[in-house]
């Protein structure tokens, strides 16, 4: 049995007349970082809350290790969660907050100190969390999630409020965890950041699954996209446009979607246009996401 598998099947949540999540199904596997993407209000947070037993599904199931969260016997030893913006009592000091949660997780004070070092809050551990910046609260939330040394991490917008250094730290941390065999599922709207370290992507829109795929296959999909520059853009545009593909002009450059570099070269040769530049354009996660959500 694979330890730490997340399986969401037909998950549905209605709030009165509003359907927040509609028959959503996806999986997140151990050893991989799964990015959970969707626009604001698309149902990401509701889905994660149902996965974590904080909200009850109207239909369907969300399982971790083949069990609903509520039936896990020692949940903090299996699952660590970071919820949006981090949560703590503002009057409690950082160290005391972790020690409070350590009672639940069965962790000792040495583990608390170890995590304070890991998240870089050692010097701020004696301050009340109400005075923490958003980034510090996120670091504290990550430390809280790691108290029980879980094999599954579920993170809702964990990069919110983190500076570039903090984001790089989080990226390394999650990659290390995944390399150790942990399942990492995180939602984020920072697509460029996410594209740097996720293995798989789950895209939802209006509570429905749009696509689940490995990141590499997602951004490699679609027709070739080439940016080309020649000595006569107008003649080159005409030569390419007659083939029926999508050509758009931006100054001296033409963006061609649907022809390979070889086909563009041949068309330019026939039109007697000299090519100065012919560069394949890599589809970014953001573009892929917008295309998918737009199509859905």
């Amino acid at each position: 049995m694979i330890v730490g598998m997340i399986e969401v099947t037909g998950l549905t949540k209605w709030y009165g007349p509003v359907c927040a999540v509609d028959g959503l199904s996806f999986t997140a596997a151990p050893g991989r970082i799964t990015g959970f993407l969707g626009a604001n209000g698309s149902g990401k947070t509701t889905t994660l809350r149902m996965l974590l037993g904080l909200a009850t599904p109207t239909a369907g199931s969300a399982l971790i290790d083949r069990h609903p969260y509520a039936r896990l016997s020692d949940p903090l030893r299996l699952v660590g969660a970071v919820l949006e913006q981090g949560v703590s009592h503002p009057g409690q000091r950082g160290r005391a907050h972790l020690r409070t949660q350590a009672i639940f997780a069965g962790a000792d004070h040495a583990r608390v100190e170890e995590l304070l070092d890991l998240v870089g809050l050692r010097n701020a551990a004696g301050r009340r969390t109400g005075g923490y910046s958003l980034g510090m609260r996120q670091r504290l939330a990550v430390a809280t999630a790691l108290l029980g040394s879980p094999t599954v991490l579920v993170l809702d917008e964990p990069a919110n409020g983190l500076d570039p250094e903090g984001i790089a730290w989080l990226r390394r941390l999650l990659r290390d965890r995944a390399d150790d065999g942990c399942t990492v599922l995180l939602s984020s709207h920072l697509l460029a950041e996410l594209a740097q370290f996720v293995d798989d992507v789950v895209v939802i829109a209006d509570g429905r699954l749009v696509r689940q795929a490995p990141l590499v296959s997602l951004i490699a999909e679609g027709p070739p996209h080439i940016r080309v520059r020649g000595n006569d853009p107008a003649r080159l545009w005409q030569a390419l446009a007659v083939t029926g593909v999508q050509v758009s002009r931006e100054g001296e450059y033409l963006d061609v979607v649907g022809l390979t570099a070889e086909q563009i070269g041949e068309a330019a040769f026939e039109a007697q246009v000299v090519i100065y530049e012919c560069t394949p354009v890599r589809i970014e996660l953001e573009q892929a996401f917008l295309q998918m959500v737009g199509q859905s």
Binding site: L54, T56, R71, P75, A81, H89, Q101, I103, T144
Partner: protein, 200 residues
Amino acid sequence: MTAVVRTELYRLATVRSWWLSVVGACALTTLVAFGESGPWAGLVGMVTFLFGVVGAAQHYQHRTAFLVFLARPRRLAVLAGQTVAYAAAALLFAAATGLPVLAQGRVDDYACTVLGAPLLAVFAVANAAILRRPIWIIIGWGLWFVIVDALIGRLEIPLPFSSYLNGSVRDHTMGIALIGWAAVSLGAAGWFIRRGVTGD
């Protein structure tokens, strides 16, 4: 459940505003206990109710309920733990601050209040689990106490606070009514605590 009790008490002990409030309330209530036992019992009840409501409902206000429910997804165990924690704190508070009453030989008054305060704490925690907003609960029950318990019922009808006030001065029928209020509210809380938790 034991972990819930421990975390509740540890949290209260490590939030400065809380222990300062507890120290202040202990000092004031002990001072009042040197006079008549009625005002002391009333103050014990008020402090117990307020601390129970604010302490338990703060989890929703500061969203630490997320952390508690993530750690202990069985909500009834959470409710039981919080109830035990605040009832035990109320019992200790009443027992400690009432020592001057005991020293004056009013053993029955002392015993009834020490037994009544935990029941009021149960009532408070249950209300927090049902309504989740401390200000609503305090204002709502404050108005209720003034208008319904005091003005309409003249503190003679076995309503929640009248039951406590009379029960704490040896009216056993009212004491039983207080047990009933605590039990009914706890039953309702057991149902309502299963609701989803939102970040709002």
